[in-house]
């Protein structure tokens, strides 16, 4: 093994010998060019991740007494004695399920239809569907606040359910929040799927047509399996994004996710603990690490399920 690497090194140095100074220059420029990025990224991107772990081991109030080291106590409280946290976990998953599944499926169908040769004005449709993505979540939530209003809302008017209280019923609140999420993200995912569809060879579809497969069969037996890596990517990204959901419930309801915490998500709970009324950053930091573990496990689970379900 050792001799092998030595031989490898020798053969490598010879041709480089003449360009030796250039290689050195390259390395020097390399470090130099990455340095400003890396220093900033280290201070404000990576260091906070570890600093957060440190904070979570303290009883630490933002504007209070000196932080006091309490070891894993925050985690113990969080996991054994905090029904509000459990509620926030359930809410987060509930909203995730009723947003992500329809969101990705509709996006996939939209992309498939938009990719058909006969469709005209593709750019216009693409732009229309993508437009929600550039709007601020704040503006989106303010508009849906009006649309989902109990007394004057357009949605109650259209479906003929006068006085339906979208905010105070737990499941309805989840549905309203999921609608905002879907509205904003369907177009984005459609665009990602469209790019993926363009990499699938036409011959596959031609062969299937000759074999007598109709468009719907082609969608399920060619398109979905061929898009597997991209579907996986969107599922993982929406797992991470969905678990971190919090601005929609914050603006649609309030900082506690409504009077009965009916829309309180994990991230909103974390935010409320630190910046609401308690300023308990130690506990909040512990929430963020438990949340992190949940997200990673959930993303891995989704990875596993997706690869099992969609086979080539």
């Amino acid at each position: 093994m050792e001799t092998h690497t030595k031989v490898g090194k020798k053969t490598n140095t010879k041709p480089r010998f003449q360009k030796g100074s250039q290689a050195k220059k390259d390395a020097l420029s390399g470090y130099l060019y990455v340095a400003p990025f890396f220093i900033l990224f280290l201070s404000f991107g990576i260091f906070p991740i570890f600093y957060n772990l440190y904070i979570s081991l303290f009883s630490w109030k933002l504007f209070g007494a000196e932080p006091e080291f309490i070891g894993l106590q925050n985690y113990i409280w969080l996991l054994t004695d905090d029904p509000t946290f459990i509620k926030s976990v359930v809410n987060t998953f509930s909203i995730w399920i009723i947003s992500t599944i329809p969101q990705l499926f509709i996006a996939l169908v939209l992309a498939y239809v938009l990719n058909q040769a006969f469709v005209k004005m593709k750019d216009m449709f693409r732009m229309g569907i993508f437009m929600p993505f550039i709007t601020s979540i704040l503006a989106v939530t303010i508009i849906f606040n009006s649309l989902f209003s109990r007394d004057f809302g357009l949605i109650n008017f259209i479906i003929g359910t006068e006085g339906l209280d979208w905010k105070n019923n737990r499941l309805l609140a989840h549905f309203a929040i999921a609608t905002m999420v879907n509205w904003r993200w369907i177009g984005y995912n459609t665009i990602i799927y469209m790019a993926g569809l363009q990499t699938i060879g036409k011959d596959l579809y031609e062969a299937a047509t000759i074999d007598g497969a109709n468009k719907i069969q082609q969608f399920f037996y060619i398109t979905i399996p061929q898009l597997r890596p991209i579907i996986l990517f969107t599922i993982i990204m929406s797992s991470i994004g969905g678990m971190a959901l919090f601005i929609e419930p914050l603006v649609f309801l309030d900082i506690r996710g409504g009077s009965a915490n009916q829309g309180l998500t994990m991230f909103l709970y974390l935010y409320e603990t630190a910046f609401g009324t308690k300023y308990n950053v130690g506990y909040s930091a512990a929430i963020s690490w438990v949340m992190f573990v949940i997200v990673v496990l959930f993303a891995l689970l989704n990875w596993f399920i997706t690869t099992k379900v969609i086979k080539d």
Binding site: K25, G45, I186, L250
Partner: protein
């Protein structure tokens, strides 16, 4: 016959989806041109009114939009320029220069992309130790670079710029920085435009972090001004929606003309990999 039905359903699906996508923008417009009393009617009024100027004046009096616009432009402008420069420079080095540890550095950067957003707490404590609370530094400096920017720029450089091109520039005696400046940057223009729009848009639209660190009126950004219109005592729907509408308009004005390039740039960057 069957084919025609399929086409009909396809178009119907596309048209309904587009209408649902665009409708809330129309709704924003409808509310911002009516009074709150008209907006709070049942059945709702679905045609534009003539109160836009009045609502605009009202919003203007209730929030300092000029200061907010000025602050937002400084913040979004500085961050966008900085991200374009530092991210493309770092991506050039990571994609096309040989040095020890470059793969490790890239892996480290990408792995933070896959992390769920870390809580804002450590960043808040860091920023307050620097004494940046209520200063625009708090919303600018932590975001001067970003993992996504490097990732996207590296994808673009790897697909658009062949190593041979870099080699031949060096043969001609170009220094590394000249290569970056004269060769990489011009070819990278579509990628830079995409990153610029994404960054500008994200900063323009952000309000959570600014709301944590910017409490004074004099440092508020546009989204904070809108958020300020919507508080516990204020149920003036027309006012709030007008605020949201006027902060959305500039983005639509930027996005619509460039949408084609932007959409294809975004997909090129995110799908490969």
């Amino acid at each position: 016959m069957k084919n025609r039905a399929g086409r009909f359903i396809s178009y119907l699906f596309l048209i309904i989806s587009s209408i649902i996508s665009v409708f809330p923008f129309y709704w924003m417009f409808v509310i911002s041109t009516n009074t709150t009393a008209e907006a709070n009617k049942f059945p709702p009024k679905i045609i534009p009114g003539d109160q836009f100027i009045a609502n605009l004046q009202n919003a203007w009096e209730n929030a300092d939009f000029i200061t907010a616009l000025f602050n937002t432009l400084i913040v979004a402008g500085t961050i966008t320029i900085s991200q374009l420069f530092f991210c493309s420079l770092a991506a050039f080095a990571l994609a096309r220069l040989q040095f020890k540890g470059r793969n490790f550095v890239f892996m480290l950067i990408v792995s933070t992309l896959l992390l769920p957003p870390v809580s804002p707490i450590p960043l808040y404590i860091i920023v307050s130790k620097f004494d940046w609370i209520n200063s625009l530094y708090a919303v600018i400096i932590p975001f001067l670079v970003g993992a996504f920017g490097v990732f996207l720029m590296k994808q673009f450089i790897e697909t658009a710029i062949h190593p041979e091109l870099i080699e031949s520039a060096k043969m001609d005696g170009a220094r590394n920085f000249q290569t970056y400046y004269r060769i990489v940057l011009p070819i990278l223009k579509p990628g830079l435009a995409t990153l610029a729009i994404i960054t500008f848009m994200a900063i323009w639209n952000d309000f959570v972090w600014p709301s944590i660190v910017l409490k004074d009126q004099s440092v508020q950004t546009l989204q904070l001004a809108v958020r300020g219109l919507q508080n516990a005592y204020n149920r003036d729907t027309a006012l709030i929606v007008t605020g949201a509408f006027i902060t959305t308009l500039p983005l639509l004005a930027i996005f619509i003309p460039f949408s084609r390039q932007f959409i294809s740039g975004l997909t090129e960057g995110s799908v490969k990999g």
